[in-house]
């Protein structure tokens, strides 16, 4: 009895240490401890948001460090989603999400379409102004985020587009388009040119080549470029704060900041809203991070 239990323990230990041939068990243990420590530092602040969202309203201010709080409740989630009938307050949560989604989706669509076409030219044609154009696009990434915001703000004000979602779409496209061109150009470069040449010899036009060969082959990259520019705009706060001043146009970062500003009253609601927004984004991110990173390295960090 004792020996079998012991052997299963030994088997578990062997499973744990088996593949680290070069390192001593003690070192392996140390490495695991270090990684566990780092993981706790990485995850705990995020978990704490979940904790706060579960706290009942009368116990928000506490020095408790437990992950699942006492008397955990989903009240905050209900208030955030469907308002508070007792106080006759409506919930803007869905409105914020819709505002964010509509603006960011359109920005991404525009930049992916513009970029898909011009990145193809940058990747396949050699024309005067090509490298100057590419370097220029890279330089725009050096322009501080706030730098073009002021002239854009004044421009939009003259065109009466402040406080419209169209104004925000325009402001977001500034940073989104050049980055997307770079990402896609990097991807097109990896598609062998022989395919197109064969098609061209067989009498296909450039247009057919582009729509029938390049676009289908690069559809994962297009999806990633879309996701990339979507994620860039999705949680943006500073530009939106300048362009939108009306409550009913607020994107969610502006919206939940109104919660975060009031420390006592709405901290739990802020946390609940954050969890509901962050979880889908994180799932999407962790799921797609492999491609996101390869897109990133292809586009901008090409060695």
């Amino acid at each position: 009895m004792t020996s079998t239990r012991f052997s299963s323990l030994r088997r578990a230990l062997r499973w744990f240490f088996v593949r680290s041939r070069g390192d001593s068990p003690f070192k392996t243990l140390l490495i695991h401890l270090a990684l566990i420590g780092a993981s706790i530092i990485a995850v705990y602040p995020v978990l704490r948001v979940v904790t706060i969202s579960l706290r009942p309203n009368d116990a928000l201010l506490t020095t408790d460090l437990r992950i699942i709080p006492q008397n955990a409740t989903l009240d905050n989630y209900r208030t955030v989603l469907f308002g508070d009938p007792t106080k006759n307050r409506q919930s803007d949560f869905f409105l914020w999400l819709w505002n964010s989604f509509s603006v960011v989706a359109v920005t991404s669509i525009i930049s992916v379409i513009l970029a898909a076409v011009s990145a193809y030219a940058f990747s396949r044609f050699r024309f005067p102004g090509r490298s100057a154009g590419l370097v220029f696009l890279l330089t725009t990434q050096m322009i501080p985020a706030g730098m073009l915001l002021l002239p854009l703000f004044i421009m939009l004000a003259q065109l009466r587009m402040i406080n419209t979602s169209l104004g925000l779409i325009i402001a977001y496209s500034v940073s989104s388009v050049p980055l997307t061109i770079w990402t896609l150009k990097g991807y097109y470069d990896t598609i062998p040119i022989d395919l197109e040449e064969a098609a061209l010899i067989d009498g296909a036009t450039r247009f057919t080549v582009f729509t029938k060969i390049i676009l289908p082959l690069s559809s994962p990259a297009l999806a990633i470029a879309f996701l990339f520019s979507f994620m860039g705009g999705w949680s943006e706060y500073l530009v939106a704060r300048v362009v939108l001043q009306k409550n009913d146009l607020y994107t969610w970062p502006l919206g939940i900041f109104t919660y975060a500003q009031q420390f006592t009253v709405a901290w739990g609601q802020f946390a609940a809203a954050s969890v509901m927004i962050a979880v889908p984004v994180m799932v999407l991110f962790l799921y797609s991070s492999k491609w996101l990173i390869s897109g990133l390295t292809l586009g901008s960090v090409k060695g």
């Binding site: 602040p45 308002g83 011009s118 370097v135 706060y237 704060r241 954050s274």
Partner: protein, 499 residues
């Protein structure tokens, strides 16, 4: 001919129907009872869809017209001398109209201003035409909104007719570069409108006294003297309200250096730990990427409250540590050296006023930004490590190189192609990144945690010093450009990037 049974062919549609019905059911059963508590309504959704759809249609119609115009210039050639005249005149008129519209756009956005008169009415001639069309349409009984849509349709029909005429009068010709330029054109126009034009506007603004008092550009005065004044104020006065330029510049350098050093060393350490045959590697990797996966805005807003002096996470931890140290030091009061040491620690380690003390406020934003940035570097470095062949290490092992020597002479040099661009990008991004600062401390207390970019943002949008901000932005741009040029000189150009 088609052997597939009918039901099979209609199955996809059936699935769609079932799906739609399920969505309808869920919306009705789960959302509808609470609809009174939600401000989002179907009307709002539809209104936004129409607004954005119109915007998209207008953009793509405009781009299509420009594309077709240039296509006919590149790829079509007039048949005879007579048709050449007609075609060229048509194209000239078109180009002239386009130019006038662009100039009118400049005028409308205050890049330059014209007095009422002949010149101005010439500039606005295309706009007047469109307005005339619209009022005609309203005259025959259309509403304000639908006349806008209809005039767009009428214009497109007119353009289509003109292009058809042009097409009939010309024969095809081949063009080598035409295709490339046609493809680049839409993005080029976008960049022109969204980046070049605002940049020019900014330069003009830098030489003005525009502020809230002048109603932005409406009553602003322009001249070299205003630019000079802005420059003098920037270097001798305050950048936003309290802090001076060189103070903030120093803090920006500190901010950038500390962040990048911690990002790279932290990322390197974690990547080296992860890069080995090991159980649970993917699990750790997923957990460690968390800070990157959460939207920055949420992290910053959540940590903003965690830096609270009583109920925030950091001070809870510090005060727990403090009470533990007090306990220990009381237990050890008789032990000679250790007792004194713990007493000293207990007296010095404890809760910190993150909000009021400028030093700790800066530390709080640094902690947040470092925490946020490490995963990116870790992933980049891990990718670099995985591309290094094992054989180098095996050879080094045989030659008796120590682990540190292997790191110093194999890993670091082979990581360079990955690390250098990542570090450069990291420097530029960190230099420009201030959402964490803005959301956690808003630069406070007394702008002691502001960096250049956040000061600029506040000067523009909290203190409305527009002309000054434009000059400020140009100075920041020059600093970054100098950095980029030095980097290019050192690394030998952008050749690897554009090839």
């Amino acid at each position: 001919m088609d052997e597939t049974p009918l039901i099979r062919r209609f199955l996809p549609y059936l699935y769609w129907l079932i799906g739609l019905f399920l969505v309808y059911f869920v919306v009705n059963a789960l959302i509808a009872p609470y609809a009174s508590g939600i401000t989002l309504s179907v009307q709002i959704v539809i209104r936004r869809l129409i607004e954005i759809g119109g915007f998209l249609l207008a953009i793509f119609a405009g781009l299509a017209i420009i594309e077709v115009y240039f296509y006919q210039i590149f790829f079509r050639q007039p048949r005879t001398i007579l048709t050449a005249w007609i075609v060229r005149i048509l194209q000239g008129v078109f180009a002239g109209m386009g130019l006038l519209m662009v100039l009118a756009f400049f005028e409308r956005t205050d890049l330059f201003r014209l007095q009422e008169g002949l010149l101005r009415s010439i500039l606005y001639f295309p706009n007047t035409l469109v307005d005339g069309l619209r009022s005609t349409l309203m005259g025959i009984g259309l509403t304000k909104d639908s006349s806008g849509w209809m005039s767009g349709v009428v214009l497109i029909v007119i353009f289509a007719g003109l292009f058809f005429l042009n097409h009939q009068l010309t024969v095809p010709r081949s063009s080598k570069l035409g295709m490339a330029y046609l493809l680049v054109l839409p993005a080029f126009i976008g960049v022109l409108v969204l980046i070049i034009y605002p940049f020019l506007f900014e330069i003009k603004l830098a030489f003005s006294n525009a502020s809230l008092g002048t109603q932005a550009t409406k009553n602003a005065q322009y001249g070299l003297i205003y630019g000079w004044n802005n420059l003098v104020t920037l270097f001798t006065g305050t950048v936003a309200k309290d802090a001076t330029f060189f103070e903030v510049l120093g803090r920006t350098v500190l901010w950038t250096v500390i962040n990048v050093v911690f990002h790279v060393s932290g990322g390197m350490a974690l990547a080296l730990l992860l890069h080995r045959p090991m159980k649970l590697q993917g699990f750790y990797r997923t957990l460690l990427v968390f800070p990157w996966a959460v939207p920055t805005t949420i992290v910053a807003m959540a940590l903003r409250n965690e830096f609270d002096s009583r109920y925030g996470l950091f001070n809870i931890l510090l005060s727990n540590l403090n009470s533990w140290l007090v306990d220990v030091s009381q237990g050890m009061v008789s032990v000679p050296v250790l007792g004194e040491m713990f007493a000293w620690l207990a007296a010095h380690i404890g809760p910190v006023s993150w909000r009021q003390d400028p030093f700790w406020a800066f530390v709080s934003v640094l902690i947040t930004n470092i925490w946020l940035g490490i995963p990116f570097m870790m992933v980049i470095i891990l990718g670099g490590l995985q591309s290094i062949s094992h054989e180098y290490y095996e050879a080094a092992e045989i030659d008796g190189a120590s682990k540190f020597q292997q790191f110093r002479h194999i890993t670091l040099p082979l990581l360079r192609p990955v690390l250098t661009p990542a570090v450069i990008l990291g420097v530029v991004w960190t230099f420009n990144k201030f959402d964490v600062i803005y959301l956690i401390t808003q630069g406070g207390p007394q702008e002691k945690t502001d960096i250049l970019v956040s000061s600029m943002y506040k000067a523009a949008f909290s203190f409305y010093r527009y002309g000054f901000t434009a000059m400020f932005a140009l100075v920041i741009f020059v600093i970054l450009l100098a950095f980029a040029l030095v980097y290019l000189r050192v690394s030998g150009g952008l050749k690897s990037v554009t090839e």
